[in-house]
Amino acid sequence: MTALLLRDLKLSVRAGGGALIGVLFFMTVVAVIPFGVGPDLNLLSRIGPAIVWIGALLSALLGLDRLFQTEREDGSLDLLLMQEHPLVLTVLVKCLAHWLGNGLPLVIASPLLGLFMNMDEVAIGATMLTLLVGTPALTFIGAVGAAVAVALPRGGLLVSILVLPLAIPVLIFGVSASYAAVEDPAPFMPPFLILVAITMFFAVLGPLGAALALRNAGD
């Protein structure tokens, strides 16, 4: 299993360049918003957490749809499916590798973008923390879509639509927890704990669903 993790990490550095494209895209999204909002620093810092979260959501989905497609095209998927390791575990490890390659860099880059958006330290910290907890859920949800995409000849986009609705709750609680950390009346913990729960929930449901889809895509 560590072998799979290492291979996938190696591939994402060597071929796809997932990390860098994700971060670049993330920065582009964040850089464009001030154009819309104008140079009103207060407003910027108000919508900051939301924008950072949206940027992260969109970049986390980039490339996720080909998580299993590449494996299928060169025949590796067949071998992965035949093993005695529970397939769920294999999927989990692949998700982990994808998150390490694509999600984690976003989390690490987020403070920088927080600064761009004129957010204060607490807000930046909270956003980073919620991203750290929330982005894995996005990967797990996306994995289901990616597994379904395997059955389709080239279903990348179709899959994103099917999957994005499920990502909405993650976004809602991530953003509201970030806001709660800054605005006094609202407590930080409840939405944050819900976010944690969502991630745990999808950490189970995502690989299960993906494994089910892979088993049934058979051709």
Partner: protein
């Protein structure tokens, strides 16, 4: 000696009444076979007659419409899926073009692990056995078609599995490589392995059983 024979012969790959569908067409019906240690079955037949389909069913990659495949061995619990005792070499090579041959073979060795009562050899030795020891550091994508096929075959050697399921293993190979493959397969059989292969060219195995596929066995229209 007798003990070894006993142990060996207790291993069986059993297929009962298999039939499979592609789209709505039944490709074959009622195929059964029973392979013991050291035995081999070669599938032949015209293009599109369902050889690859049968191999994928046995490997557990396609759902059989009816029938089942089972794997019986002394050491395995009864619930073991047949697929876990098998190596599958399909039309595609299951290697990453971006990684070197060494990385590819090393990955499969670690990931697949060895089945009980057998041990895989190291990537270097495996490449050596297929006659390509020198180019193990090249990215897989740089190899010629035949070299790629050989390295895909080397994958069978790095992790031990009693059953080899090979789909046209000798496509794109030159004559000397074909001879090498035949030797490797014979060695595997002699060590008590099982072979299930689809091929258009004779593999040069003595006493291999042959199964001729006929293709298209009807439409599953009764379902509707």
């Amino acid at each position: 000696m007798i003990k070894i024979l006993m142990k060996v012969s207790s291993m069986r790959l059993l297929a009962e009444n298999l039939s499979a569908r592609r789209g709505e067409d039944l490709i074959f019906t009622d195929i059964s076979f029973d392979l013991g240690a050291g035995e081999s079955l070669v599938l032949t037949g015209r293009n599109g007659s369902g050889k690859s389909t049968l191999l994928r069913v046995v490997a557990g990659l396609l759902h059989a419409e009816t029938g089942r495949v089972s794997w019986i061995s002394e050491s395995s619990e009864s619930g073991m899926r047949a697929a876990e005792a098998c190596h599958y070499l399909g039309h595609r090579n299951a290697m990453k073009a971006e990684l070197t041959v060494f990385e590819n073979l090393g990955f499969w060795k670690d990931f697949l692990g060895d089945a009980e009562d057998g041990k895989g050899i190291s990537p270097g030795e495996a490449a050596e056995s297929v006659g390509l020891g020198g180019i193990i550091h090249l990215p897989f994508g740089y190899l010629s078609a035949g070299q790629q096929r050989r390295m895909a075959f080397a994958k069978l050697l790095v992790a031990y599995r009693p059953v080899w399921i090979l789909d046209e293993p000798t496509a794109a190979l030159d004559v000397s490589a074909e001879a090498v493959f035949t030797e490797l397969i014979k060695a595997h059989l002699a060590a008590g392995g099982i072979l299930l292969a689809a091929t258009h060219q004779p593999l040069g195995l003595e006493n291999a059983r042959e199964l001729r596929m006929a293709g298209f066995a009807g439409v599953t229209e009764e379902r509707w």
